[in-house]
Symmetry: C2
Subunit: 254 residues, 2 copies
């Protein structure tokens, strides 16, 4: 582990620096195969652990990705685009303008694995929803999938007292979804707050989203309010950061 | 390196799992000191490299942070809040509503190290600004600092032909900043697009933001348009994800 401390010997950092430089320069382009442990041991005359540690470093930096059974590759970024407010998705009321990053605009994530429960909310969700201790919520969990790869986990919380008996408590919320049902119930969401933070994934998130090493997650918590400032939904999302570009549009007079 | 493959022996994963469980349960709370390599070698009866690798794993997961000369600690999250549109920061036109994450609302990052250059823009910035090949931009680079810790790097690009001779080409842009100057020049920004993506930092970003291992960066590219849909500024930001909660507010009728 301390091999690179001895002058004149090739250490894992030297190998990582070489590969990183080849990735930065484009010599190793996105999607192309990276030399494996065996290639590196013979190329640099090092032991297997040194080669492995060099590759591990670049995985943690998010530059290379191991694919089971087929080797290690330079990471590609082919994201989908999530636009807020989504009414502006079509861009009709908005001059087009060119985006800074290319995204796959044709792909729409598919919803999968919807479950509905009635339960006590986490403390911070109860606070945002202005619910007293012991007041229950209807919880809708689901994931979003692109080409069989999960890209987002989402959990929506609704005060039970507001939505009991409505289709929001069913697997299929019907035409227009939960917001259309909230409107029918007299709780139309008219304004939204999205709070975002970013961190490395917890183990359960890494598994559920099938994340490669060195892939952060984006946490978005969206709160929907009625015109009377009543919070009616909290939606906690966990996004695979390698799958998304987020876009927000607003005017100087919002 | 393969110690955990032998049954009955303690491997680095076992140690990492123990510590992770203590962090998750709160037994090791945010900001508290984590056992060091020497503690772990005697506690688990392992060699130093095994202890080091266990700690390295948790650093890459962003759960613990090494502080030079004082040891390793459970990561704390004490972010500042960046609100868009920033007119709504005061929340006057907006019902308050409780935020999901606590943030330090009193702290405002300080601007530092402003440099101004005239140069050719990167290709993707030229595209967003609708500039032909070889057309130059005025570039303003600066960083934002909280308590001497850099939290954001920012580079703004303005078409040279629009801003030549104005205070936008000076270190000090004057009262109201660059947007006030653009307005005086007849190019008032009236709408904004922010595009976000997230990844692990490049080495230069890690150094410039003094990032701990396991800390992703948030890239925000903000484009400002006039009422005539003319792009007049692209601002590329790189944020330390451990320093920020982002907030976006919008209505169903935006």
């Amino acid at each position: 582990m301390t091999d690179n401390a001895r002058p004149g010997r090739v250490g894992y950092r030297d190998i990582a620096n070489d590969l990183r430089q080849q990735i930065d320069s484009g010599e190793l382009s996105p999607g192309s195969k990276v030399p494996g442990e065996n290639d590196l041991t013979s190329q640099y005359g090092v032991e297997q652990p040194t080669a492995r540690r060099a590759l591990d470093m670049l995985k943690n930096e998010g530059l290379i990705v191991a694919k089971r059974g087929s080797g290690t590759f330079v990471r590609e970024f082919k994201p989908i685009r999530r636009v807020s407010p989504d009414r502006l998705q079509a861009g009709t009321s908005w001059g087009a303008g060119r985006p800074i990053w290319t995204t796959d605009v044709g792909t729409r994530p598919r919803t999968e694995g919807v479950t509905v429960d009635v339960e006590l909310p986490p403390a911070n969700v109860a606070e945002v929803l202005n619910l007293d201790d012991g007041v229950r919520v209807v919880t809708r969990r689901r994931r979003y999938v692109v080409d069989d790869k999960p890209v987002q986990l989402a959990t929506s919380y609704y005060p039970e007292v507001l939505v009991a008996g409505s289709a929001i408590t069913e697997i299929d919320t019907g035409e227009g979804g939960a917001y259309a049902r909230l409107k029918e119930l007299g709780y139309e969401p008219t304004r939204f707050r999205e709070e975002l933070r970013v961190r490395m994934p917890r183990e359960s998130e890494r598994e559920a989203l099938d994340l490669a090493q060195g892939t952060p997650v984006i946490l978005i918590v969206r709160t929907a309010y009625t015109a009377d400032d009543q919070p009616v939904e909290v939606n906690e999302m966990v996004l695979d950061s390698a799958a998304y570009v987020l876009e927000y549009k607003f005017t100087a007079h919002d």
